[in-house]
Amino acid sequence: MTELASTIEAAYRARAGEFLRVATAIAGSREGGRDAVQEALTRAFARRGTFRGSGTLEAWLWKAVVNSARNVRARSPLVAGDPQIDTAAHDVAAEQRDAVRAAVAALPERQRLALFLRYYADLDYAAIAAALGVRRGTVSATLNHAHEALRAALGEEVLA
């Protein structure tokens, strides 16, 4: 294995859970999330020569995962409410979860992606900006809008 392939593997291993969680959120199902991460890694390994080194390798990997997950979602739009995502705590929070899902689905795509990367992967603004191909200032504004929209849509009783 080349040095770059080893680095990709290490970057993935370090944050495998976060990659899968973000991909699952974007793709809309666990299976879709797994497919997306697998596709992204496959392309990263096969096309590692295209990594120009202009940003970090992790940002490059995040971008690949986000794009793959968006493609998976586009191929299977009907899995948006796939119940496989929420098998945990099914009986307790079903109503809240449905409300959250509807509110998140109503957000513009960029706001959704920024939220997922910020909360599920704990990426900072610079990393989110690199993954989404936008400026750092745009990330800050996008997250503010997303927070406002979610608060307005869900109200304090759901968010509390």
Binding site: A89, Q96, V100, E109
Partner: protein, 383 residues
């Protein structure tokens, strides 16, 4: 509040996707295997492109030119949702291919489009369907070289094709080179309605467009139908149905008849040696495509509305006459070939008669939600 984080939003999002247990090794193994196959397929695409081209061009429903090198009269099709065009073997597009374009001035001739979102509403939205493939440069020498490197094929069969090739005239090879440049894309509108009908775009608005980047925000497009000399790698966009679409009688299916196509192209009947060569060549192509070391990703859209029909087309499009074609759905194996993903993928075992022999292929199909068509994505002799 933590900078950029709202704890209550965080709790809400935790409800949506809880933390997931993950075994990194499992996905890594699959990804490494997929990458190895992807690289191998790329290498093979360079070295055995000629061997694979027969299946490729007939998967594409290739048309032919009756007058040598004059493709235009034969690129027109009566299907408003299809576009037949020729690809230049010497030109490559290196620009961007965004997911969607808004083209308010879409018409015959050149028109300008603006980068858009696939989720944007309105009319004249074009979504990315595919990029054109690189077409092989066919010569006698390149075919011999490709046969030399063919993998997953019976060596005796390859030797037979090589011997047949020696009996084939140069004009026949030139005809194959022309055929290899022609591709067809198609896709039904995917909407329900009376059987035998389909929805088509408003008159004068192309269903498919070939576009190239002008600036970061604008693209220049041309109707794809009957376009010649399209650079390989050019992004092809399909018009999304909107309120202006009309319902018309669907054109009948137009199965490829290779003997007729060759005859029209050559301006004469093919010789017995030429016919024999192509049949053997197509068989080698099918086996090279499907062999365990020679799989080939489908690269061309087949616009059919269900998975079963897409699987049947894989056998009917081999370029030789196949009879008694049947397809039986199979469960997906634990590991899919070539890095294919499980979502939306179906597997069929397709059986058919070819030259008095019963043959079997395994065909993976996948639905393009964007284009509402099923595509053949993998053909193999094993699942």
């Amino acid at each position: 509040m933590i900078a950029g984080k709202d704890p209550m939003v965080g709790r809400a999002l935790d409800l949506l996707v809880p933390e997931l247990d993950v075994t990194p090794d499992e996905l890594l193994l699959a990804a490494h295997a997929g990458a190895t196959r992807l690289r191998a397929v790329r290498r093979r695409r360079q070295t055995v492109a000629v061997v694979a081209f027969a299946a490729l061009l007939l998967f594409a429903g290739a048309a032919v030119a009756a007058k040598k090198y004059d493709l235009l009269p034969f690129l027109h099709t009566s299907d408003r949702n299809s576009a037949r065009f020729s690809v230049s073997p010497s030109r490559t597009y290196h620009g961007a291919a965004v997911l969607a374009l808004t083209c308010p001035g879409a018409k015959q001739g050149r028109f300008v489009c603006h980068v858009s979102s696939p989720l944007a509403g309105g009319t004249r939205i074009y979504e990315l369907g595919m990029r054109t493939d690189k077409v092989p440069l066919l010569t006698r020498q390149s075919m011999l070289a490709s046969l030399e490197h063919a993998q997953g094929v019976d060596p005796a069969q390859v030797a037979k094709v090589r011997a047949d090739l020696a009996d084939v005239g140069d004009d026949f090879i030139r005809a194959l080179a022309i055929l290899a440049r022609i591709e067809t894309v198609s896709g039904s509108s995917g909407s329900s309605g009376p059987s035998g009908t389909e929805r088509v775009p408003p008159r004068g608005v192309p269903a498919w467009a070939a576009c190239s980047e002008v600036t970061l925000a604008t693209f220049r497009c041309r109707p794809l139908a009957a376009l010649t000399g399209v650079a390989s790698g050019t992004p092809l966009y399909r018009l999304q149905p909107s309120s202006g679409w009309r319902r018309v009688k669907a054109p009948g299916s137009q199965p490829s008849d290779f003997a007729l196509m060759l005859e029209r192209l050559l301006g004469r009947k093919p010789t017995a040696a030429e016919t024999r060569f192509f049949i053997d060549f197509a068989t080698v192509a099918a086996n090279a495509v499907g062999g365990p070391t020679g799989p080939k990703r489908g690269t061309t859209l087949i616009g059919v509305s269900n998975a079963h029909d897409a699987a049947l087309l894989a056998a009917r499009s081999l370029g030789v006459r196949t009879r008694n074609v049947s397809a039986v759905a199979q469960p997906l194996p634990p590991r899919l070939p070539g890095g294919l993903t499980r979502s939306g993928t179906h597997l069929y075992r397709v059986s058919f008669d070819l030259r008095a022999e019963r043959r079997r292929l395994y065909v993976y199909v996948n639905r393009s939600a964007r284009l509402h068509v099923w595509r053949v994505v993998w053909v193999g002799t094993k699942p």
